[in-house]
Symmetry: D2
Subunit: 395 residues, 4 copies
Amino acid sequence: MTGLTLDDLVQRLRAVLDGPGRAVEAVVLREGWKAALPQLHALRLEVKRLGAWAPHLTPEHGGMGLSLVQFAQVSEVLGRSPIGHWLCNCQAPDIGNMELMHTHADPSLQARWLMPLMHGEIRSCFAMTEPEHAGSNPVWMSTTAVRDADDYVITGHKWFTTGADGAAFTIVMAVTAPDAPPHKRATMIVVPTDTPGFSIVQNIMVMGERGGDHASHAEVRFDAVRVPVTNRIGSEGQGFELAQARLGPGRVHHCMRWIGICERAFDLMCERAVQRELSPGEPLARRDTVQHWVAESRAEIDAARLLVLDAALALETRGPLGAREQISAIKFHTAAVLQRVLDRAIQVHGAMGLTDATPLAFWWAHERGARIYDGPDEVHKQSLGRAILKRYATS
Amino acid sequence: MTGLTLDDLVQRLRAVLDGPGRAVEAVVLREGWKAALPQLHALRLEVKRLGAWAPHLTPEHGGMGLSLVQFAQVSEVLGRSPIGHWLCNCQAPDIGNMELMHTHADPSLQARWLMPLMHGEIRSCFAMTEPEHAGSNPVWMSTTAVRDADDYVITGHKWFTTGADGAAFTIVMAVTAPDAPPHKRATMIVVPTDTPGFSIVQNIMVMGERGGDHASHAEVRFDAVRVPVTNRIGSEGQGFELAQARLGPGRVHHCMRWIGICERAFDLMCERAVQRELSPGEPLARRDTVQHWVAESRAEIDAARLLVLDAALALETRGPLGAREQISAIKFHTAAVLQRVLDRAIQVHGAMGLTDATPLAFWWAHERGARIYDGPDEVHKQSLGRAILKRYATS
Amino acid sequence: MTGLTLDDLVQRLRAVLDGPGRAVEAVVLREGWKAALPQLHALRLEVKRLGAWAPHLTPEHGGMGLSLVQFAQVSEVLGRSPIGHWLCNCQAPDIGNMELMHTHADPSLQARWLMPLMHGEIRSCFAMTEPEHAGSNPVWMSTTAVRDADDYVITGHKWFTTGADGAAFTIVMAVTAPDAPPHKRATMIVVPTDTPGFSIVQNIMVMGERGGDHASHAEVRFDAVRVPVTNRIGSEGQGFELAQARLGPGRVHHCMRWIGICERAFDLMCERAVQRELSPGEPLARRDTVQHWVAESRAEIDAARLLVLDAALALETRGPLGAREQISAIKFHTAAVLQRVLDRAIQVHGAMGLTDATPLAFWWAHERGARIYDGPDEVHKQSLGRAILKRYATS
Amino acid sequence: MTGLTLDDLVQRLRAVLDGPGRAVEAVVLREGWKAALPQLHALRLEVKRLGAWAPHLTPEHGGMGLSLVQFAQVSEVLGRSPIGHWLCNCQAPDIGNMELMHTHADPSLQARWLMPLMHGEIRSCFAMTEPEHAGSNPVWMSTTAVRDADDYVITGHKWFTTGADGAAFTIVMAVTAPDAPPHKRATMIVVPTDTPGFSIVQNIMVMGERGGDHASHAEVRFDAVRVPVTNRIGSEGQGFELAQARLGPGRVHHCMRWIGICERAFDLMCERAVQRELSPGEPLARRDTVQHWVAESRAEIDAARLLVLDAALALETRGPLGAREQISAIKFHTAAVLQRVLDRAIQVHGAMGLTDATPLAFWWAHERGARIYDGPDEVHKQSLGRAILKRYATS
């Protein structure tokens, strides 16, 4: 960890985000990610200088070598701002792609794509969800990759490919064995975005915003896209398995990021409550309704954080299978806390909460997806509920 | 009512909104209100030809002469689309301004501003809320109108002035008697938007969108804006009283519009549930979770509608004072139902619910304000609760 | 309606319940129903003298000939006390049995059992639910009635047979045609409780109370109970159909009774809030939390009442089939409002809310069943949700 | 810890409660605590033999010398049954009295009352709450103790004195310095229950049950009760301070007991869901609604447990003042989880959930008080909210 304690690191990152980061965040909220790129890159350099680069990577790759539990705590502080994770180069979906390629891509793929990704020189994306099939059923997809000599020829239609706009490559999930058992059908393949046949149909309008660059979700097409078989990650048919492995830590990252959002929303709520007067000398903070919201939010956030850290520890010590139920639990539980806390913080802000004066409106709109992406609440609840009930049935 | 029964009228409007209106709505959602203006105006003509123009106005003013209860039912069907009310020229804030000027503006003001407003030739806005003071305390404001011979000189800062962008005039609330009792301090004055000193600082970013034209909320400044005293509506110091009178029917309109949103969201939820398959042959509609959401939404919407119509009837028969408690009740109750129904509908849609493929995302973002504008939930709950408890205290 | 207007009637009944009824209610809460029987019967005579007897029966049967919508309004005021319905002889399950026998029992059965029931000389019960089968699946039962010459020989095990303790007869649902389609298997049969083979195993401990007499729920056994076939109600195999017909009005009765409970709880909550001081001169009513609870309860109760009355009207005008969905909606919606309102009223009372000083604790304990009896929430939600979704599927 | 690991201890206690404890629990539920006393005492001996006696006491006093965090974990397993804590002699209010007297009573008081209490030979109670004053304001009371030579003469009226029925002594809170600042007015005094002037007015009907012995809540009177000043605990005016100190660990005990209740309710819910069929071969566990309830309960219980254990650790390491906010948070947060989990478990059980077949009904009725006793939710939320907001106000 390059000499920094975890506490130091967290304090430093917080100082950046609550300090110079605020101005950059304001540009992102007001003018969009693309417009803020110069300031974003400048601030990124500063973060790098602090030694806070790529907390998830090993020191030999320029990272900080944090354990998952340590990284989770860093993820919380980064979550305080929409720009936090990107500044440290640990933003989704790139972080997931790094983890995946680090373990499962062959050296030449790593040299060509992983290295510059780890250095923040390029961005990547991950094309899995298809508009025609429920994202909640990850084994049901129509995109195919057909072997032709030493190439795959990929044809399909994806959406919610986050950050495709400006990405150097995508990892695509495509069916290579349509007749195999459902969990063995798909394969992951690296597709450079300048490959003929790959196209971005549009940046999807999400909550009224098209977004751009890293902050966008694209609809993309693969129209007989041809790439060499060496672009494959892992083995044929291993796609679903790799996606699952990728999701465990990914959900911990998301959940801790949401805790960070909650903490920022909590600060904003409390600050507003003590400053905003309903009449001269009568701040909102005097209302017991507001006091209750503050108290409920405090309890919910703290309980959720402990639950997520416990799941992170389980994932580290017992592996993906051993932690599967806990990972499901944190996903829906934390997303619900997030929505409640944001709701209260906005209500305390009144009309101002709907504007770009704080990131609350951004999160209200864009984190409505927290209960949908990476598996909707209902899928996680069903999966956890079934797993538990099964044990009672056989006992 | 120009020969149409209420049922006929509702059916015709629904046919427009669910028919040709869908394409126009799609442009609004995808490209914004301004981009859709040509199509919007074309469709407006069609609506006018149907005899569905200005349901709230008397026939002599080109309207339909509906009672409040009847109009409420029309408002529901118009609420099915973000473009509904505008098509019939009964959109907020213009409708409130029409009602106000119809009763309280002198004939010359009416001739100059009300007539073209009723004909849909111009738009207007209403400047009341100030960023420096809690909107929930309507008697606390800093904008002043100082009498200077036959003029008022107005100075102040307002925001959330809906539709200021492109409006021909605003009605502004300004303090004319700073030392009067709080409810007697303010006066309403018509200010043409081309008056020197009036400026739009910005269309406020609301939930990540600046919007434009009718679909925008402006921050505006009055910098020694001079208008003749004849531009006053009502008498000096009557501003708060007029605002209150304006709010009763306004809240019924909003609530019934929200019921309309709920009904559209309900339709979308049900349609999606029967169409979307989780796996081949297994539609979402088979899940009892989804069945429960449908049932709960049905009960909540129907109960809320009955409550709103009952309040509308009370307002018609017992007047603003007699209906005050009911109006408070419908405001927070219906806004809560709206948010729950939208939430469920989005969840059933999954990722698609976050996009512009339906108006659900638009409403999720922009109707978060429903629990804030026209008095936040907490103000209405407190006011209703206190009024009730007072009766128990003195009994 | 014997010269009384509905309003008069409601006022009179309210005067009884809020007047002399309170002392009787207190005995019921403190010592149980059985101990209060002398006072209960004395008060019943008073109610009879007021002309408020049996509002659901026709004048020729000594009743008031109210429509369902009118009766619903009476049911609300009676619901204000646990003793209300019994005082007017319109308590469940007797009222349902009267309605059933009035239409479907032959004259000799009517003379022998219905007449004294209508006059309040005897009580009855209804044995349907079986401990071995989910009550939510009304066509699945094990109790059989085997034809033997001119008799039925009934064998089975029932529970939650309300009021069996002290009842003169029960109506039992028993399978007469095990191989018929599920909805045609069962038959309703009158069984006098002194018939050999009929026994009460126990009054079930419900929420820690065994109860007694009318206020009890029994586990009963039918051990080769022999009754003449003329004791049948309706035709063989018609049991389920008759049970369904019985349930529609029954649910309206329950829902309006719950509204009455809500109103009483609301009064208690408001009275306590203005009287109870947190410190000298600082009543609970000053807290905005309490004000909000009052406001939310007011809105929820009023909306629920309108929904129930609307369903009652539908049942009267469109019949059971036409009102089926609305009946499902009111059942779960009103039960939920009931639980929320009781919860708030108890919380305002603090420790006192847990005691017998008010009926709140009684209702908290015994109306937890409101979300279970006559079909659990989940059955009604599923049934309503499916019916609605089916229309979307085929459209 | 007498050679047992914490895990061993927990396993042994669980084996007792889920084994022979079930029959004793059933008697308690069906016939009441008093009727079950012989079986209870027999089982207590067995627990003592296991070495699981008085986990909160030091070995020299016959206890196990557990830390608060360890005891919290024991408290969870004991919470699985209403008889659990009593079996180990760590039931409220005796445990609080032991902790109090251990630290603050002089040796002669300890010898006379604490020793037999620690050995389980007598029971005690704690008389603080008064019917005339809100329990949520602990400094407002009317009971006085007037110094008369070497005696206190105590006069007052208390209620919710848990377990007074059969107790050997009570500790009473009485005002000794009416003119002191509110937090310095009261003193704690030991009053043997056979002292002239002490009387139990009644065991209060709580949720329809009077209860008896340990399982009762009494209304008591102190009518010029005379005890020597040496019966005082701590110094004069220290009553409130001691009560506060007593409450911190007390709330941890309660919260962990509630977690235990949740876990038992969770087991019951799951067992019922896999066993109960809606139709042949279709268990409740197949419903996604039930699966969701199981999942939500799992997440909520686990998060709450972590929050409580974290607060217990804070209390041990940072003391009452340092842990004050966390203690408030766990009190209302865990009580809310408890009510939700019980609600779901009952709903899954249907009518059976209302009976004495499980302890669910007992808890539904008697743990409604969890949101009231030891400070109602609103007091804890307000206190926590204010403490937090104060920091923001001054920053």
